[in-house]
């Protein structure tokens, strides 16, 4: 079985502070971390790997990201936690990517992970589903966080599913079973928590609280220090320049501005009983 986990480096705090006078962003040496939703996705993958190892079955877990060269450290940390290998797509040609260009770049990385040169990394991880098409083998499962805490779009998982024509289940809350080429999960929908089953290969996006990410083991950290994290350019993964980065992004930010705040706030004066009476009057106006 082969599982690819897509991760994004995000600022360690999304509480970006604005300088109220200059309206510029105050940066105070914020480090990058793995998007917490993606860290949960990795944990789900590693739990599958552990379970299969216990029954003597192979499972390769690959961590994939698109980002600046420094993201390599986060991927190495993924190996320290138990991932088999990692691939970082890093190239100025990928910069400025919106979700369409990002999912395209990741799809190139996923194909690369299935190519002969990379899949030797873990020979035990040959895909188990039947290949519909020849060429690089696709993974059995692609796991993503439901969304990233900085962008909050939740588009990458469904877009990857579309690019590979795989079924997709979003906002997974529990992985119930993987057997006989099918995966059964509980996920959140508008109507409630659904128990669904889809055939492999499939894309699953996970909620943050689905799993508590494990810490790297000492042996894992030692192994990760020497493990290969492939850092590949756009050309190396045969990404079409017209579909990558800014050039491949249909959407453009044309303006950014500081949101306006209402300053027409009336302070309710008087004693607490008087204040409470005013609030009840407001509730009555609102239909109480």
């Amino acid at each position: 079985m082969h599982i690819v986990v897509c991760v994004k480096a995000v600022p360690s705090s999304t509480e970006v502070k604005m300088d109220p006078v200059t309206h510029t962003i105050v940066r105070d040496g914020r480090e990058s971390v793995v998007n917490p939703f993606d860290a949960a996705a990795l944990e789900v993958a590693l739990a599958i790997k552990d379970e299969r190892a216990a029954t003597g079955e192979g499972c390769r877990v690959s961590v994939l990201s698109m980002g600046i060269p420094a993201t390599e450290a986060l991927l190495r940390d993924g190996i320290a936690r138990g991932a088999s290998d990692a691939l970082l797509l890093s190239d100025r040609a990928f910069a400025g990517a919106d979700t369409l260009a990002t999912s395209y770049a990741l799809s190139c990385g996923i194909r690369e992970l299935g190519s002969a040169s990379m899949s030797d990394v873990a020979a035990s991880g040959a895909p188990e589903h039947e290949e519909a098409t020849p060429g690089p083998s696709l993974p059995d499962l692609i796991l993503c966080g439901k969304m990233a805490v900085d962008g909050d779009t939740a588009q990458i998982g469904p877009e990857l599913a579309g690019l590979f024509d795989m079924p997709c289940v979003t906002d997974m809350r529990e992985l119930v079973a993987i057997e006989r080429g099918r995966v059964t999960v509980r996920h959140a929908t508008d109507a409630g928590i659904e128990l669904v089953e889809v055939p492999l290969p499939a894309v699953l996006t996970v909620a943050k609280d689905i799993a508590q990410p494990r810490m790297p083991s000492i042996a894992g950290v030692r192994a990760a220090a020497g493990a290969p994290v492939a850092v590949l350019s756009a050309a190396r993964v045969q990404a079409d320049p017209a579909r990558s980065g800014l050039a491949g992004s249909p959407t453009q930010v044309v303006r950014s501005f500081v949101p306006e705040r209402s300053d027409a706030c009336e302070v309710l004066e008087g004693s607490v009983p008087q204040q409470a009476a005013r609030i009840i009057a407001l509730a009555e106006e609102a239909g109480l």
Partner: protein, 406 residues
């Protein structure tokens, strides 16, 4: 190659770009700005530069979608129904906004409704909201299990009819469906818009959404690709009364035509639903009155007090993200950018400081009353009425007065 360009002749090395950048993507060295590998081409520095020395260059390839934009027209609203088969409130909100945009652009609004068998049929109801046309089909495969089935249906329609813009409700289903449509049509999609505008001449949809955790708003365009796609959170736009009332109730609306458009026979769902645990309790997104509590209520033992207040106000109870993370209340109660967007008539905010992500979810509230000890709390920046004081004391008094009424 596309990228960030700095005009060395203009750059004065003032470092405003460096300060404006959230990513460390530009540095000033030797009085000249230089982009670094961390640049995400967000354009923040372009805005900040006082001498117009910075620009973002795009390759021709990026513009060359090869699409004749003038062949695309009309605004589509993708409708969704609930488990009982009734149209979701967000459909009316989107139709209202689409009618406004269509009037500015001089085009029509078309609603797209796929229904699975069981439900009461909603096509006629939808046709009475002021839309010119409802594209409709009833098909068991269009149950809400597999967004891909909907995506294939909508994409086939869009390829044939070429809408200029498509609006989706940012429900769980809409947030899965919209990207699947966007990737099939290879076009742009903007998630969770809080404002939509249209250029009457070009038809460019100006899509505004919070960026960088909501500290900045970004306006996004999709200049060379059609259809332009956006999702909008429920409750962000108010549904106009004439749209919710519908034609034939005195509202000045014409009834749209209903066109049947079947789903291709070869499309097969791959997601099989084995069971469902329906959501219980009221939905905070639909609540008329809402009590929202934050860390300022002190401790979990004060929660029953807040629940009692909500009960007496016939209100739903919402909370901020830290309370969900601490396990005091479950996720269904979370209000904010990663929780629900709410649009009550009255929102009573108790012990909420007002982090920007939280504020992103309460923009639709008509009246906000905030109770907080800290007079400088950002929540007061969006509140209509402020009580600066001890939350527990005020809530205890509110409960006493409300109980005395009954």
């Amino acid at each position: 190659m596309s990228g960030l360009m700095v005009d060395a002749a203009r750059c004065v090395g003032c470092k405003r770009c460096e300060r404006a950048c959230a990513f460390g993507g530009i540095v000033v060295e030797g009085r000249l700005a230089r982009p670094t590998d961390a640049c995400t081409l967000c354009g923040g520095c372009v805005e900040a530069c006082p001498v117009d020395a910075i620009s973002i260059e795009r390759d021709e390839a990026g513009e060359g979608s090869g699409r004749d934009l003038s062949a695309y027209r009309d605004i589509w609203v993708i409708a969704q129904v609930d488990a009982e088969g009734a149209l979701l409130p967000v459909v009316f909100e989107l139709v209202g906004k689409a009618l406004e945009l269509a009037e500015a652009r001089g085009c029509q609004v078309v609603a797209v409704l796929g229904e699975a068998g069981r439900a009461p049929r909603q096509a006629e109801r939808l046709a009475a909201t002021g839309v010119a046309e409802v594209i409709h089909t009833v098909d068991e495969r269009l149950a809400y299990a597999d967004a891909e089935v909907f995506a294939q249906w909508i994409c086939a329609l869009a390829e044939e009819r070429r809408p200029e813009a498509m609006l989706f409700g940012a429900t769980a289903f809409g947030r899965e469906l919209a990207p699947r449509v966007a990737v099939r049509l290879q076009t742009g999609l903007t998630a969770d818009c809080t404002a939509l505008d249209i250029d009457p001449k070009t038809g460019a949809l100006l899509q505004t959404r919070p960026a960088f955790g909501g500290n900045l708003m970004a306006t996004i365009e999709c200049p060379a690709h059609r259809p332009q796609m956006a999702t909008v959170r429920p409750g962000v736009f108010a549904a106009p009364e004439r749209v919710t009332a519908g034609a034939g109730t005195g509202a000045d609306l014409a009834v749209g035509i209903i066109t049947q458009a079947p789903l291709a026979p070869e499309v097969a769902p791959r997601v099989a639903v084995l069971g469902i645990e329906p959501v219980t309790g009221g939905s905070i997104a639909q609540a008329e009155r809402l009590v929202v509590v934050g860390r300022g209520i002190g401790s979990k033992k004060n929660l029953p007090l807040m629940e009692r207040l909500a009960e007496l106000l016939h209100a739903e109870l919402g909370c901020t993200r830290p309370l969900v993370e601490a396990g005091w209340l479950d996720y269904a109660h979370q209000v904010g950018q990663t929780g629900a967007a709410v649009a009550p008539k009255l929102l009573v905010s108790i012990g909420v400081s007002g982090a920007i992500q939280h504020l992103a979810g309460i923009g639709g509230a008509e009246t906000v009353v905030a109770i907080n000890e800290d007079a400088a709390a950002p929540i007061f920046g969006v509140a209509d009425y402020a009580v600066v004081g001890d939350a527990i004391e005020v809530v205890t008094e509110l409960i006493a007065q409300l109980e005395a009424r009954d």
